[in-house]
């Protein structure tokens, strides 16, 4: 029987600085054993434990998309012991990945629906995974309109900038990129906070429209009223939560909100579900 605590060995294949302040880096990992890549079969919205022997483990959303093969990608903010260590590692170093863990966004339910993606700051990783998945030629026809509202403090703090600007040019996805502020006179996208851009640009809700939100608590708090004003019901608002985690498999007991464990019963919940649980996140 498999040991769920045992990570798959991976090699760091590439490291990219993701934001201008260098607080985020994107790590590309390749599995040492190609069989492990098959076992690590994931869907957009899931997370994994990045596992550094002798240092520790961290739960991080998977930023690569199931339609991208041969590697997995994670964008990591330097903040604690493990993430700081990871930021100092080099291409070629060996470490581990445990997963995939948790639930994905409800892709079956989202078929033939309009999807509005709302992200802020560095909570855009599993949303990137989702966009790449939906835009894949094999999948695009499964969804109706796709709108993306994504904001950061400044242009240099936007994740995956090259991709954002490419998506901007396409006609099968509507991008609403925004920054809190910028002195750049050539900036041609929105200026303003995410809730405000949502209110002004996101489509009004009908029964076939769902919103997926990821972001810092303050952004989520102020985006909810904007969505309610646009007619979104609580079952049409899908969120991904974060809590302190260790095991990632529903056993160690710390990430619960009521009887739900964020790691195993989440991290994806609808607002309708969250409204029935204590707000301990």
């Amino acid at each position: 029987m498999e040991n769920p605590y045992l990570p798959y060995p991976v090699r760091i294949d590439d490291i990219e600085i993701a934001t201008e302040d260098k607080s985020l880096k994107t790590f590309k990992f390749v599995f040492l054993d190609p069989e492990d890549e098959k076992k690590f079969s994931y869907r957009a919205g899931q997370f994994a434990e990045l596992s550094i022997p002798g240092v520790g483990e961290i739960p991080i959303g998977i930023a690569s998309s199931p339609v991208e093969k041969g590697f997995v990608k994670f964008t990591v903010f330097r903040t604690g012991v493990v993430t700081s260590h990871l930021h100092n590692m080099k291409v070629g170093d060996i470490m581990g990945i445990r997963g995939p863990l948790g639930n994905w966004y409800p892709w079956d339910k989202l078929e033939n629906k309009n999807v509005v993606i709302i992200g802020g700051g560095f909570a855009f990783t599993t949303l990137r995974s989702s966009i790449i998945y939906m835009l894949d030629p094999a999948n695009r026809k499964k969804f109706k309109n796709i709108d993306v509202v994504y904001g950061a403090r400044s242009p240099g703090m936007l994740l995956y900038r090259e991709e954002l600007y490419e998506w901007e040019k396409r006609d099968d996805i509507r991008m609403h990129i925004t920054v809190d502020g910028t002195n750049d006179p050539t900036w041609k996208y929105h200026k303003g906070f995410v809730p405000q851009i949502v209110e002004q640009n996101a489509p009004k809700a009908d029964a076939d429209t769902y919103a997926i939100i990821c972001g810092p608590p303050i952004m989520i708090k102020f985006t909810q009223p904007a969505l309610t004003a646009l007619g979104y019901k609580e079952h049409q608002i899908i969120m991904s939560l974060e809590n302190r985690m260790k095991c990632g498999i529903g056993m160690c007991g710390r990430c619960n909100i009521g009887k739900e464990l964020v790691c195993k019963d989440g991290p994806v919940f609808t607002l309708a579900q969250l409204n029935k649980t204590p707000k301990e996140y």
Binding site: Y5, S51, P53, G54, V55, T79, R244, K246, R254, G258
Partner: protein
Amino acid sequence: MKFITIDKKNWAKGIEKSRETYRLFGPVKDKNGSFIRDLENDMLPDMSCNDSVLSAKSVLFPQTEKILFTTLDESQKDHHIMKRVPGDSAKRAVLGIRPYDAKAIQLVKLNFDTDDYRDPYWCDAYEATTFVGVGINKPGPFDFSTAAGTGPFSETGLDVLMADLDNAYLAKVLTDKGGAFMTSCGFDTAADEKESQALFDILRKEAEKNISSRIDTDKLKDKTVLELHEAPFWDDIAFSCINCGTCTFVCPTCWCFDIQDEAKQKSASRFRNWDTCMSPLFTKHATGHNPRDSKTQRVRQRFMHKLKYFLDKYDQGIMCVGCGRCVKSCPVNIDIREVCKIMNSYEKKE
């Protein structure tokens, strides 16, 4: 053979014989009280102690357990690739485990052995273990096990249940595992089934009569999580709590754990350690944000988990076996029986 009589004169010899097949655990008294320990050669379990300070959960779930290891020496072939610490599948037996502690292990099993994941450390240890319990003839003042779905002669989770009859033990063999252990001890004096069962029934009734404290849990199920979570009584309950975590450590059903890494020179190890929901660090995010920042939130989490979340999630009663250890050990006299009463009788004012 369902019932076996064991003359106490033969007890030590039989236990010694079982060591050929089993590693033994059992209660041992020291200056701090009675603890379940690995019984090294010549050590005998102290079968007379009513309850150990800590429960028997540590036999399957040690306070600290090394789970993975690797080398950090890059000249080695498998450096930085973690491996499982070789499992110990050798048979073991816990002697003198109390019925409520055996029931607690069945509750903990719901967490470690699920449809989605199997915790190999806990489950392997569980499968290798035989539980030889002894009934409690004279339950102590903190015991409310009969109201918590078990009792002084409950058989749940045991392979053998023994009754202490002064000069002898009368053993009821409940499983094949239990039978195998009795055989390994050479205990083979069959006792009359009907008479023995009648004796067990009398002892059970006598013991249950001694239990004067109880809890009522009948109304917990019908209340919503939010109703109880938002109830006004939590600050009062938590007022005297110092968040020491004693209740979680002595509890036979508390299973929460932490995972920590350690590196010494070129070797790295990953451990799992008991953790406690009473600690602020238990839920603190790397950003500094803490969803259960105040002690009231943490105290509420403990009681809600035991008396509501667990009940709702598994529909197998509350996550408490009524051993009374937390009541006895709490330095500020917080009493789960009182808390349960407040929760069970709470009616939200409209």
